[in-house]
């Protein structure tokens, strides 16, 4: 079957629909997922198609959404729970961190927790400090759950299907400003991507840019600008923060000897810190320059348009960081 260009939103819808058709145990619950069809319209039409039994509007209670998904998963269903935005995941942290991620380990593998929490991340929409977090890395800190951070429609579909089919819990993080991005995606209902595999999104010999999610977009734009200056950037899209696959980064680094890590989250204790640490452990002999990090400013995100944009990464900041190392 041919690949069709569709949006990330459509890719997510297609993945959910196909997996719900494939497996009766899969069901959706969250705020506004039913009548309203999801805050970002990903589940539009699902209530009519699958009925209220499998598409459930919940009260505004994130702890119930995440906690009852853990319970339902232990009891044999495969919930796809939706947290309207990752900002509200802070109200459900105990269910996610202490239970979703640990039940299998703590109880000697008696229970698996085959659940997915879908949520949206990211700033840049003038929604203020408590509404604009991009804290995916915080969840990747904890062993026991996978963290998916797709940046294209192709990846979104293949990764969500993989997440739903897998028996382990997944926090699936979509970027709220990227849902309209389009790319070719297979129609094949058995198109599934492997869990925990990074992907080279652009080839180049001069510098390795490691990124994910929104960072992919900024990095691709930066690479175009760099190309005009004769600098070829190789872009590694991590796609998953856990399992973290740095093999392609190491391979790339062997030829570029330089690395810039790009992420939307805060700079301290970040993906950049992890990648830099692993690079200097594994690739010390290949290192020609310090690993650079491009991230948000180490501050809560402000509301006013100009200062908000200033506090976030962008292509320009990536170009500047690359030019420091090449």
């Amino acid at each position: 079957m041919a690949d069709r260009p569709i949006t990330i939103r459509e890719a997510l819808s297609a993945a959910l629909r196909e997996e719900m058709q494939r497996d009766e145990r899969v069901f959706i619950m969250g705020e506004e997922v039913g009548v309203w069809g999801g805050t970002y319209a990903v589940t539009r039409g699902f209530l009519d198609e699958f009925g209220a039994k499998r598409v459930r509007d919940t009260p505004i209670a994130e702890m119930v959404i995440a906690g009852s998904a853990v319970g339902a998963a232990m009891a044999g269903l495969r919930p796809v729970a939706e947290l309207m935005t990752i900002n509200f995941a802070f109200l459900a942290l105990d269910a996610i961190v202490n239970h979703m991620a640990k039940v299998r380990y703590m109880f000697n593998g008696q229970f698996t927790v085959p659940m997915v929490i879908r949520t949206t991340t990211g700033g840049g929409k003038q929604l203020g400090a408590t509404h604009s977090h991009a804290p995916e890395v915080l969840f990747a800190h904890f062993p026991g759950m996978y963290v998916a951070v797709p940046g294209t429609a192709y990846d979104a579909k293949g990764m969500l299907k993989a997440s739903i089919r897998d028996d382990n819990p997944v926090l699936f993080v979509e970027h709220s400003t990227m849902l309209q991005r389009r790319s070719p995606v297979p129609d094949d209902p058995d198109f599934v991507l492997p869990i925990g595999k990074s992907d080279i999104k652009r080839e180049g010999d001069d510098v390795t840019i490691v990124t994910f999610g929104k960072g992919l977009e900024w990095s691709m734009a930066a690479a175009e600008q760099l190309e005009k200056d004769g600098i070829e950037a190789e872009i590694v899209d991590l796609r998953w923060l856990r399992p973290l696959d740095l093999e392609p980064v190491f391979e790339s680094f062997k030829k570029t000897n330089r690395c810039v890590v790009v992420e939307e989250s805060l700079p301290m204790f970040s993906v950049g810190a992890e990648v830099a640490a692993q690079l200097q452990n594994e690739m010390f002999d290949y290192m020609d320059a310090p690993v650079k990090r491009v991230a948000a400013m180490d501050n809560p995100l402000p509301y006013s348009r100009e200062i908000e944009l200033m506090a976030l990464p962008d292509a320009q900041k990536i170009v500047a960081a690359v030019k420091e190392v090449v």
């Binding site: 309203w36 509007d57 505004i60 209670a61 702890m63 408590t130 400013m297 006013s304 200062i307």
Partner: protein, 342 residues
């Protein structure tokens, strides 16, 4: 939809003893908030601002509540629909316009926080967060501080009925019950949380039915009746001030506009329903009441409208002309420097 209080067309002024001047002031406050809010919708439609979340329709309970407080002394911890409430506390159309345009000098946050997150130390408005219901435990904490310091200051906290599904609501009110805290929690029940109707939030007919489980008083009021709201809030505040503990006040109301500028309410409710509720508009009801008593006529109404329009026009013009915050404002120190005094 089960509601114990039938929203009426009349105003119930039983036991309300406000003079003509104050009654007209309440009316002016409601109109002023409404027109500021309506202007903000227009600015959003013109593409001049990013987002608006509106308080239209909720002015009755908000103005009634604010005037029942000792403003400037009591604390209020408000939620995003409380534009009228905040304005009655001393927030101005000019402040709000600076906020929606994200301009320098915006008084509640220096344009760092979203609009409609009303917060002002000078006006006794504690902080607002975007995650809903998080204000309830904080307000209980403020009430605890007042109690511990031996002050008779009361804390009023507000939220929507959907937000009462959050654990924060239960944890905060339980704490207030255990320690008889001087807290009044107002739930503005507009029967929807975005698209989700109240019967999918809770299995009891009234939010206030839950008061006994916290060991606190509960009251239900027609939130589109500013005077009934004033009376019920006055009683609750007096109880709190005199050591009688917390009250959960449920104000029945309606939001005749979409949830926010991102919402399309035609997907989840009928136009008939919206039209029915527009007949019960808190401003129109109060206006009819004031007319009947000879306190308001066409001329006086026009005069108020013109005065308000001028204030809103001037506020908008000033905010549009104001500069954006300087870049270094993004870096405002998170921590209080050692050498800074209050």
């Amino acid at each position: 939809m089960a509601t114990d209080v039938q929203i009426a067309h009349q105003i119930d002024d039983t036991g309300v003893d406000l003079d003509a001047k104050l009654l007209l002031e309440l009316y002016w406050q409601m109109v002023r908030a409404r027109r500021t809010d309506e202007r903000t919708w227009v600015l959003h439609r013109q593409g001049k601002i990013a987002f608006h979340i509106s308080g239209i329709g909720h002015e009755g309970i908000q103005i009634g509540a604010a005037y029942a407080m000792r403003r400037g002394y009591d604390y209020a911890q408000l939620y995003y629909r409380d534009l009228a409430f905040a304005m009655a506390m001393g927030y101005t159309p000019h402040d709000f316009m600076l906020s929606i345009f994200g301009k320098a000098g915006e008084p509640t946050s220096g344009a760092r926080q979203m609009p409609s997150h009303f917060s002002s130390r000078a006006l006794g408005m504690l902080s607002s967060s975007s995650p809903v219901a998080t204000q309830v435990p904080q307000a209980a904490g403020a009430a605890l501080a007042c109690k511990l310091r031996g002050e008779d200051r009361v804390t009023v906290v507000t939220l929507g009925e959907g937000s009462t599904s959050e654990g924060d609501f239960y944890e905060g009110l339980n704490w207030a019950g255990v320690h008889k805290l001087p807290l009044v929690c107002i739930v503005q029940n507009n029967i929807y949380a975005i698209s989700v109707p109240v019967h999918l939030q809770m299995a009891v007919p009234n939010v206030a039915d839950r008061a006994p489980m916290f060991g606190i008083a509960g009251a239900i009021v027609d939130g589109n009746d500013v005077l009934a709201s004033y009376r019920v809030m006055s009683e609750a505040i007096q109880r709190a001030r005199e050591g009688g503990g917390a009250t959960l006040v449920e104000a029945k109301t309606y939001r005749p506009v979409p949830h926010s500028s991102d919402d399309d309410d035609r997907t989840y409710r009928t136009r008939d329903e919206v039209e029915t509720w527009k007949q019960r508009d808190p401003i129109l009801r109060f206006q009819a009441y004031l007319r009947e008593r000879g306190l308001l006529d066409d001329e006086a109404i026009d005069e108020i409208e013109q005065r308000v329009r001028q204030e809103v026009d001037e506020a908008q013009a000033a905010a549009e002309a104001a500069p954006y915050p300087p870049a270094e404002d993004a870096l405002y120190p998170l921590f209080k420097p050692l050498d800074e005094t209050d």
